[in-house]
């Protein structure tokens, strides 16, 4: 059966750590960095559970700073 795999790339310097992507993510793939911060002091978002990403782009849609790129492939 075909399976969808996805991945996101967060623009870490642009991210303000608002967490709206974390809330919107249906697969709990994303989280905010618990310790790391970017140059502006924000705990930026990252894929805490990369294999679970389905590339649905929900995170990117609600991201107010347009800092999430979404990639998706079909794995047969």
């Amino acid at each position: 059966m075909a399976k969808i795999r996805g991945a996101v790339v967060v623009n870490e310097e642009r991210c303000k750590g608002c967490s709206l992507c974390v809330v919107a993510c249906p697969t709990h793939t994303l989280a905010l960095q618990p310790k790391e911060v970017n140059d502006r002091g924000y705990h930026y978002a990252y894929m805490a559970d990369a294999p679970s990403c389905i590339g649905c782009a929900s995170c990117a849609l609600v991201c107010p700073d347009a800092c999430i790129e979404v990639y998706k492939v079909r794995v047969d």
């Binding site: 996805g6 623009n11 967490s19 709206l20 990369a50 990117a60 979404v70 492939v73």
Partner: protein, 253 residues
């Protein structure tokens, strides 16, 4: 399959719109403005109208919209965006002219210009960010502030006897003969963002087709002004704002 096998140009399905530049936006983390900016940028590119788009920026938080979207902009005096848009649209009838205004700009100081531009049926799109508070000046009452809502100038909550009622100006605009499309949307969930994008697209298309004035209200959050986390502000909005400002089309001619 490794993540690096997925992250390849040919697999990219979503990214920052080309008309949005790399300037970091000044908005607070989680502010709805950014999402709406992104939708405007996506649509102007997808509809192939960047060359004829002129945006009118307001006074308020979105005053710097021109720093983020790479189209032509004019920064209006407070509340006067629809007057500027009227002139540019009439002088360049083939252009796509839109205003981007907050609740103070559109529904308080600029009520007159808003209503008359809409009533004349100017072929413009008005994007109206309603977050029920004044963000830029530090969280004071807006005309759209809900009864009981605490702001810097209603520290004990908005009272009808002191401050009057929240103004649902979009309902008023829907009753004008000059408007062709009046809708109320939000951007707090992925589904809402998709709907809001479709609404703005319809509005832009109406302007290009010279069908009259289109108004897209985005019921929004101001988590800083509301003194909540971005996620909590979204929940509060869904719970309290949508009752006074219900989502959906108010008019679609």
């Amino acid at each position: 399959m490794d993540v690096n096998d997925i992250i390849k140009p040919e697999n990219k399905v979503y990214g920052k719109p080309v008309l949005m530049n790399d300037n970091n936006m000044h908005y607070c983390p989680g502010c709805s403005h950014g999402v709406v900016h992104k939708l405007v940028a996506e649509l102007l590119d997808e509809m192939g109208v960047a060359e004829k788009a002129v945006g009118i920026a307001p006074v308020g938080c979105a005053v710097f919209a021109y720093n983020y979207l790479d189209i032509d902009w004019v920064e209006a005096a407070h509340g006067r965006a629809p007057a500027l848009a009227t002139a540019i649209s009439r002088l360049y009838p083939e252009n796509l002219v839109f205003t981007y205004q907050g609740d103070g700009d559109l529904a308080a100081i600029g009520t007159c210009e808003t209503i008359h531009a809409a009533n004349r049926g100017e072929n413009i799109t008005i994007i109206f960010i309603n977050n029920a508070i004044y963000g830029m000046t530090g969280g004071q009452m807006a005309p759209t502030t809900l009864i009981g809502m605490k702001t810097a100038t209603t520290p004990y909550g908005r009272r009808v006897d002191l401050n009057g009622y929240p103004l649902a100006i979009t309902d008023l605009l829907a009753r004008l003969d000059g408007t062709c499309y009046v809708t109320r949307q939000s951007v707090h969930t992925p589904a809402a963002v998709r709907k809001a994008k479709a609404a703005i697209k319809k509005a832009f298309q109406n302007s290009l087709d010279k069908k009259g004035t289109s108004i897209v209200e985005i019921v929004s959050t101001c988590n800083s002004g509301w003194k909540m986390s971005p996620a909590a502000a979204n929940d509060w909005m869904a719970e309290h704002m949508f009752e006074k400002y219900p989502l959906g089309d108010l008019k679609n001619v």
